[in-house]
Subunit: 345 residues, 2 copies
């Protein structure tokens, strides 16, 4: 299998995506081809041996071969015309905007590229924290209560402390914990920098958090271990950045078998069938013995490789279980028949 790893993107998490892509090099056994999407959304083919953060931050990648996206894949302009960049399938490792908001899914869907990653609907649903709440509700998975605020509605009836989040960013950017009303306005100003809509939830002090990753392969659901992430009040961007470079398997959370099953059951309810083709990580809360969905990461940092005992095997099996697109058949029977019935249109 020759895997095209697509990373970068016009996203606040552009850098995190670079780190994810680098991390994958260490944990995948298949042949990989690195396809970088820069801040201008131009694609470049980065030589695998040259893959390092500095190549991107210094702009040195601009000397690498430029790629054009078209039907079935990427091509590389050469002296004797365009040469296809042969890949069997692609892995979407763009975090946040472009990668998780549906643009890459739309692009790859339109041009017929086989890929690991969330499809269009799955992207849009997990990118919006409101649509994620609706999804949880319709799957029978608990989620914290919430309120939607806009620049026209800046007050809430929820009790403090609160957590304030831009509705659509897939990271901790613009997120604040607000302990009293007097700090709400500033937190909203920060959040509105990133989205016209803000979601407010209760901030549960010391809540137990559990992360679980997984995907559906031909063997059924394959789950990672459950991790209890060690973090401060909020996983800040710097910490998250380092976090995403992890390639070491982490310690299992100490949970009873029944609790792990509860988490897996909630994960499956959310995953199937919407996220078919993707390896996702769900971040849950456990409150009074009940599982609550916090968020869904459809392209988790470094593909959550550190949560799997056999990440390489899981990814290879997922590659064989991609959902076939339902491609409508185009016909001209109505034009033909109406043409016959009523003359030239």
């Amino acid at each position: 299998m020759k895997l095209g790893i697509v990373f970068g993107g016009k996203s606040f998490e552009h850098e995190i995506s670079i780190v994810s892509a680098i991390a994958l090099k260490k944990v995948l056994s298949c042949e990989v081809v690195y396809i970088f999407c820069d801040a201008q959304r131009e694609f470049y083919w980065i030589p695998t041996e040259e893959i390092a953060a500095k190549r991107f931050s210094t702009g040195a990648y601009k000397k690498d071969p430029k790629l054009t996206l078209g039907h079935g894949g990427f091509t590389c302009k050469g002296l004797f015309g365009a040469k296809p960049l042969n890949c069997d399938l692609f892995l979407n490792v763009i975090h946040g905007a472009d990668g998780e908001d549906g643009k890459i899914a739309g692009l790859f869907g339109f041009f017929g590229l086989p890929f690991i990653g969330p499809r269009l609907e799955a992207s849009v649903v997990s990118y919006s924290k409101l649509l994620t709440k609706h999804l949880a509700l319709s799957c029978g998975v608990r989620a914290l209560p919430y309120e939607i605020l806009t620049p026209q509605k800046r007050t809430t009836t929820m009790a403090y402390p609160l957590i304030v989040k831009p509705l659509r960013l897939g990271s901790s950017i613009g997120v604040s914990v607000v302990r009293s009303e007097k700090n709400l306005s500033y937190a909203l100003d920060v959040a509105f920098e990133f989205d016209d809509t803000v979601i407010v939830e209760p901030f549960v002090e010391g809540v137990k958090e559990y992360n679980l990753a997984g995907c559906k392969t031909l063997q059924g659901m394959e789950f990672s271990i459950v991790e209890a992430p060690q973090k401060g009040e909020l996983l800040d961007f710097d910490k998250k950045y380092l976090d995403f470079s992890r390639t070491q398997t982490v310690a299992k959370a100490s949970l009873a078998g029944a609790e792990v099953e509860q988490l897996q059951k909630a994960f499956f309810a959310l995953y199937d069938p919407l996220f078919e083709g993707a390896l996702i990580r769900c971040d849950f809360f456990m409150i009074d013995g009940e599982v609550y969905l916090n968020e869904i990461n459809p392209n988790p940092g470094s593909m959550a490789n550190y949560l799997f005992d056999d990440f390489d095997g899981v990814l290879n099996r997922l590659a064989k279980a991609l959902p076939a697109p339902r491609e409508p058949e185009v016909s001209y029977r109505y034009i033909h028949s109406i043409h016959a019935a009523k003359g030239k249109l």
Copy 2:
């Protein structure tokens, strides 16, 4: 204004899109450029004077200039290299798959093409009848009760008669009215041909239907007249096809001012801000004096031009009110700082 009309698409409604595009020629005063997306998703520049259904059904369009989509627009290969096809903005008139499922929105968003049409999230939400239900709920707009069926769950507790619809097709294809349990199985077989998920709703005999189109411009919301569509039990595909070629303003439904206001209020709640940049048509039911959302058409047939007294003016004003994309700023500050702190990544 030079408007690129993008039509066709790999969709069951490919033909209907052609009819819509032809209808628009008659009602728009601005300069138009026709961009056809064929069943292989190749783009062609169709000379405006040659626009007729037969050009597509016979395959004659294949002799027209082929276009390549890239940053900012389309280019046309010529003798002396690629020449840009100059358009000030684009109008998405692809119905159903590609045009209304988010692929075109993703593509145009990624490549930075200004366009009239639903953005990504609006596309995905209105393409799925389940997400549309959730939207209505969260906007305070009534919708009929429903049940979701899958190949694993083929029974319903709802009372007959029922209407059975594939979850994600933007047309009447695969839709059946089922009057008794013995006919459910066949209707489900038909619907599952088109989607893995089916939505079942009560079929309300003789329900009053009202269609309302509109969009937000710099003048505020601009609404069309309300139409009470004349139709049989179901608007079948043939009828719909003819319907889409309409360019004559239709008769207003006889409704009291307060009822029109009720419909406009529901429309606005659904539209704002999700559908900014699009001219949509909402199809409502009126039951016991209450408004119920039936469906949202984010690219309505022939852009619902026949519902407006001054369609040309509305479209021109909408063209000046497109939402600016929130484009994240890409920086390398974390790579720079972490590089400094921990050596080469």
